[in-house]
């Protein structure tokens, strides 16, 4: 099943380069993503039943457990929604002559290649392979960032490629040290094999492992957009086509964090305490939140603003992982899901706004609510949601993280955390709310011009509104499994 999924994705990606005709392309992408989503559902059920899924094929490189299943589901769910949205989006672009058929094909090809690499990163057992896949995500998305091929997007793409490759290279150094630390313990077939590393964690050589963690944190941290390595993120997110920004922010960052979390699990088990990793993660997390909070306050472009908010949320998750209590891990994973859904919803509505107004500056936009009867309100509510306002889901996960922080007797940390959240909200309100009200300038017609996209937006809004107070039991079980995988020992919801 899992191998099949990977294969399907890869093949579809290639197909896009061969097939002619817009409708055919759209149709294929819809069908493929729907199928993938279904497959993901099946896989998840299997994981729920057996705890993990592996196949003997190709030296049993395929490995899926609760942790990776969660993120895989996010990838495929968002993949589906984004490809539905993309249909309307690209059609509009096509009408405005932004893209031609060829570029359309390339777009889909790159998008599916991107998804393929991410799925690979999440489903391999071998840390080295994982590294390769994550590096590949950068390469696959580079041209998506530079898709519009104008000054700004090329610049963004260059920065994206260079910074991420360098960061990833540092991560490779970390992987090498990880390998080194395990040399005396593991024997060839299971080298760099995560499960093996985790089981034998106590036996690994701590000094090297610590060094490895440092490099992996810096490396994958760069990819995950943690301050101060976040610098590529605002540019890339603001220049990429909005559906891609949604994927970047909702999925890519998570899969980078996934690498860190796997490593943290090993290191903490080896060191027997989370002090070493915790300090770093909390520091970097707070730094990211603070950076975002300050930068949002005077941000002038809405997509950049949202990008900074992604940095903030990555910081939140990192901090929660740093606390490393069952509750905090649960919150962190939950927050991954909620942030992905909410943030991608925001980026998608950004896309609609951008297509309506054609400008990225907040100052030049007025009357979104009156002009976009659906996307406008969704956008506004999404802002409240992402800022942690109940009853939306981001609030509930932030709450559980804050609760975990306080339960761990980190009172001051918790207070600072809440303060930063408030600052972020203030920044958003000050810099962004004004674009929703008032009457639009110029002669813009009222109404939505991306129907499938609008449907997607409403679905997402419903999702984050419902999960704000209610957690499906399956998801809960999955989260508990993941929590157990990371932290070991007995699972509980915190």
């Amino acid at each position: 099943m899992g191998l099949f999924l990977l294969a399907v994705t890869g093949i579809t990606a290639v197909l896009f380069l061969l097939l002619p005709g817009r409708n055919l392309l759209h149709g294929l992408s819809l069908a493929a993503s729907a199928g993938l989503l279904g497959g993901a559902g099946g896989l998840t059920r299997e994981v729920l039943r057996q705890g993990q899924v592996t196949y003997p094929a190709l030296g049993g490189f395929f490995y899926l457990d609760g942790l990776s299943a969660i993120i895989l589901d996010i990838v495929l769910l968002l993949g589906f929604l984004v490809s539905v949205y993309s249909v309307g989006y690209l059609e509009a672009e096509f009408r405005h002559g932004q893209v031609d058929e060829r570029r359309l094909g390339i777009y889909y090809f790159l998008m599916y290649a991107f998804m393929f690499t991410m799925m690979l990163a999440l489903t391999v057992k071998n840390m080295g392979m994982m590294w390769i896949a994550i590096e590949a995500t950068t390469l696959a998305s580079a041209f998506l960032v530079g898709f519009y091929n104008d000054k700004l997007s090329v610049e963004a793409a260059w920065k994206y490629v260079i910074i991420c490759s360098v960061g990833i290279a540092v991560a490779l150094l970390g992987i090498i040290f990880l390998h080194l630390s395990s040399l005396s313990v593991l024997n060839p077939p299971q080298l760099l094999d995560w499960t093996a590393l985790y089981d034998q964690a106590e036996a690994l050589q701590s000094p090297i492992l610590r060094l490895a963690f440092i490099f992996i944190l810096v490396g994958f941290g760069t990819k995950a957009g943690l301050a101060p390595m976040h610098t590529w993120l605002p540019g890339a997110h603001s220049q990429a086509p909005s559906p891609i920004s949604a994927l970047l922010s909702g999925v890519l960052l998570n899969s980078a964090l996934y690498g860190i979390i796997r490593t943290v699990a090993i290191v903490n088990k080896n060191l027997g305490s989370s002090a070493f990793t915790g300090r770093l993660l909390i520091a970097i997390g707070l730094l990211s939140m603070a950076t975002a909070a300050i930068f949002i306050l005077t941000q002038k472009e809405y997509k950049r603003l949202l990008a900074y908010s992604s940095i903030e949320h990555m910081g939140i998750i990192a901090l929660a992982v740093g606390i490393f209590t069952p509750a905090s891990i649960f919150g962190a994973l939950l927050h991954m899901i909620n942030h992905s859904l909410t943030k991608s919803m925001l980026f998608l509505s950004c896309g609609t706004v951008l297509q309506k107004y054609g400008v990225k500056e907040i100052a030049r936009i007025r009357g979104v609510l009156s002009l976009l009867p659906v996307s406008g309100p969704v956008f506004l509510l999404g802002l409240f949601a992402i800022a942690g306002t109940p009853p939306f889901s981001v609030f509930s996960s932030e709450l559980s993280i804050i609760g975990a922080v306080f339960a761990a007797d980190r009172l001051l940390l918790g207070a600072v955390f809440i303060l930063l959240l408030a600052l972020v909200f203030m920044g958003m309100a000050l810099s962004m709310f004004r674009m929703f009200y008032g009457g639009p300038r110029g002669k813009l017609v009222r109404g939505e011009n991306n129907l499938p996209g609008t449907v997607v937006l409403m679905l997402l809004l419903a999702a984050i509104a419902v999960t704000g107070l209610y957690l499906p039991p399956d998801l809960q079980q999955l989260l508990l499994q993941a929590q157990q995988i990371i932290i070991g020992g007995q699972a509980h919801a915190g």
Binding site: K159, I163, I214, P228, M229, T298, M426, Y437, Y470
Partner: protein
């Protein structure tokens, strides 16, 4: 009734509000029917709420616990606890809500065709529902959630007429202030959680160390103070209230800011159990500052709704004075004084909901009739809208704490509580209490002045603009809504005992001390339970005497006086040209003496523009502009915000320079730093 289950009534009520919201949305296309059904359902729900809460205040003893949803999400659970404190606030909410709904039947008609009434009513009904949840939340998390939802909905209601710039600004200031306040609350709740491992409001706080309790008190004070509009956290209030539609501002000012009072009672008195006297004294101090400054700023306002908003600040101050006295007294073990002060605070909360709600509704009627909020453009409306005028007069008298109305009784109780709190050997409290008495008296007199201005300028004299000249009386439903409130004001003023008995039930539930026994001396007489039976007032008696004397005087005149006719004639114009509307006193002129006396507070600025004509003695045009400063914004908030802004915009370009080399350098340095850390740790 047999097997009466209040829970069910409350549930039904919630359903009704939900139904109102839904029906409003569904009937969007037919604003008239939608409005009718929505507010009809709200009215029914309000009636149910009133009945249930009354029953609970009188019959039902034990607090009700209703668990609506136990979520799989950590820390989140939705359960309601309705005890007498909640019941009292629900009563207030339902009474005001009902009247406002009646009012809205007519009021919202001016939206038909122009705005989305369906959406408005949807938000409106949910807003009431969210307040109900705030008042009944059983655990801190759900309280927080309901609180945020309430803020969110009220924000949307504030920016509902969002095409005006000032409304957007108002909304933004409001949502930011309230969200900042809320995060203080969150820290408080989390402290509570980290020490007791639970969010249950009725659980004991014994395991919380003293210092943490102090910190929590401060946090709660800031958090709730922001919502209540306690000076200096009040800046959002004078913007938000005028921006909202009048029926909404009535609810916001009548109930929403009172949820903060509820919060203080619930968390500080009920949960933290008052460990120091200085908590109360702090409240007292804040209260008297807010009372005086609030009314002082109100005096300078000519926008009727801003004026009323500042009066909300004043009355919150008065409530806080009562609350402060009771907290201090209870902390020192003077149970009876505490109970009286508490009763005073709660009664004033109720009264303020009545008359302030009414005033905002009246303001709405004025705005509807004259299309302006500026009283300088009104005048002579008593001729054109006699009933509205009468109702406004009643509300004005009530809020100025003048005798036969309810405002007086609660202020009287506050005075008495202050008197009772004064005792030998506690200098601090004594001095603050004496100052509080002075503050109460001062704010009372200023309020009277302010409402003489409001009523006199807008209803009396000659009309000052076309609008005022062609104003028409408000629709019957609006009058009915206001009339009910006015009637309640009078009832609560003339026969306070009935209300005080209910409130006493709350007091008993909270402090275990009853004052009702001491309160009653003869019919309609409220006596002061602390001291000699001498101290007592009887509003009905006073009313009777006054009416009697008035009638007697009238009859006497008929008998003694010769020809009883009175001649109508023009106002004396000193023999110059006939009086016109520009010669009468303006609101600015009326408040000028006090502006000069209190110039320290307003830092008034004035400029005189003269366009000289043929000779300096015959100017073509003279403009005289007077402005007062909003001290707190100008000297406290703006500088802070500018500081942050400058900092961030600086940093933005220092850090995110756009140079890729810089970015790589960051990574490089981070790596080196972490390697160093690894080596050293």
């Amino acid at each position: 009734m047999v097997g009466f289950r209040p829970e069910q009534v409350y549930l039904l009520m919630m359903l009704l509000y939900g139904g109102a919201a839904l029906s409003a949305l569904l009937l969007r296309k037919h604003p008239h029917w939608g409005n009718l059904t929505a507010h009809g359902l709200c009215l029914a729900a309000a009636a149910l709420g009133t009945a249930a809460s009354l029953l609970q205040l009188t019959v039902v003893e034990a607090p009700l616990r209703v668990s609506l949803l136990q979520s799989a999400l950590p820390l989140i659970g939705v359960d309601l606890v309705i005890d007498r404190l909640s019941a009292f606030f629900i009563l207030t909410l339902s009474v005001l809500g009902g009247c406002v709904s009646i009012y809205s039947f007519g009021y919202l008609q001016h939206y038909f065709g122009r705005r989305d009434v369906g959406l408005f009513n949807f938000l409106y009904a949910l807003f009431i529902l969210s307040m109900f949840w705030v008042l009944t939340a059983g655990n801190a998390v759900f309280f927080f959630i309901a609180w945020e939802i309430m803020s969110l909905l009220s924000y949307f209601l504030v920016v509902f007429e969002s095409e005006q710039k000032e409304n957007q600004r108002a909304g933004t200031i409001y949502i930011i202030m309230t969200h900042l306040g809320t995060s203080f609350l969150l820290v408080g709740f989390m402290l509570m959680f980290s020490f007791t491992q639970s969010f249950d409001l009725l659980a004991g706080s014994a395991t919380i160390p003293g210092w943490a309790k102090d910190v929590m008190f401060i946090l709660f004070l800031i958090g709730f103070g922001t919502k209540a509009g306690v000076i200096p956290l009040h800046i959002w209030l004078p913007y938000a209230h005028p921006a909202a539609a009048s029926n909404v501002s009535a609810l916001m000012s009548g109930i929403m800011i009172k949820t903060a009072i509820y919060g203080l009672l619930r968390f500080v008195l009920g949960y933290l159990q008052l460990q120091h006297a200085w908590w109360g004294m702090l409240l007292l101090g804040l209260g008297l500052v807010s009372a005086v400054l609030g009314v002082a700023y109100a005096l300078m306002e000519h926008n009727i709704k801003r004026l009323l908003a500042f009066h909300s600040i004043e009355n919150i101050g008065i409530i806080l004075i009562g609350l402060g006295v009771s907290f201090t007294a209870l902390a020192q073990g003077h149970a009876l004084v505490g109970a009286v002060a508490l009763a005073a605070a709660l009664f004033h909360t109720f009264n303020h909901a009545l008359f302030k709600g009414g005033l905002f509704l009246g303001a709405g009627a004025l705005q509807l009739a004259t299309h302006t909020k500026d009283i300088e453009e009104l005048g002579g409306l008593i001729k054109r809208m006699p009933r509205t005028a009468l109702l406004m007069l009643i509300f004005s008298l009530a809020i100025s704490a003048i005798v036969p109305f309810n405002g007086f009784v609660s202020e009287w109780l506050t005075y008495q509580a202050l008197l009772g709190s004064i005792g030998p050997g506690q200098a601090g409290i004594n001095i603050i209490a004496a100052l509080a008495v002075a503050a109460l008296a001062f704010s009372g007199a200023l309020a009277a002045a302010c409402f003489v201005k409001l009523f006199g300028i807008s209803f009396l004299g000659l009309p000052r603009s076309e609008h005022a000249l062609h104003a028409r009386e408000a629709p019957a439903s609006m009058q009915l809504g206001m009339g009910l409130l006015a009637g309640l004001c009078l009832a609560a003023g003339v026969y306070p005992l009935g209300f005080l008995r209910l409130i006493d039930q709350v007091g008993v539930a909270l402090t275990g001390t009853a004052i009702a026994g001491g309160l009653q001396g003869g019919w309609g007489t409220v006596s002061y339970p602390l001291a000699a039976a001498g101290t007592s007032i009887s509003p009905p008696a006073a009313l009777a005497v006054m009416v009697g004397v008035g009638l007697a005087a009238g009859i006497l005149l008929r008998v003694l006086g010769g020809s009883g006719r009175e001649r109508r004639y023009g106002t004396w114009d000193c023999g110059f040209a006939a009086i016109n509307s520009r010669m009468q006193y303006s609101a600015t002129g009326f408040s000028k003496p006090l502006r000069i006396v209190l110039r320290l507070l307003y830092r008034p600025g004035r400029e005189l523009v003269v366009e000289e004509g043929r000779s300096p003695y015959f100017p073509d045009l003279m403009k005289y502009k007077v402005s007062t400063e909003a001290i707190f914004e100008k000297y406290l908030y703006d500088p802070g915000l500018q500081l942050i802004n400058r900092f961030s915009s600086k940093l933005e370009y220092r850090v995110q320079t756009g140079s890729i080399h810089m970015y790589l350098l960051y990574i490089f340095l981070t790596m080196l730093a972490l390697m160093l850390y690894n080596r050293l740790v």
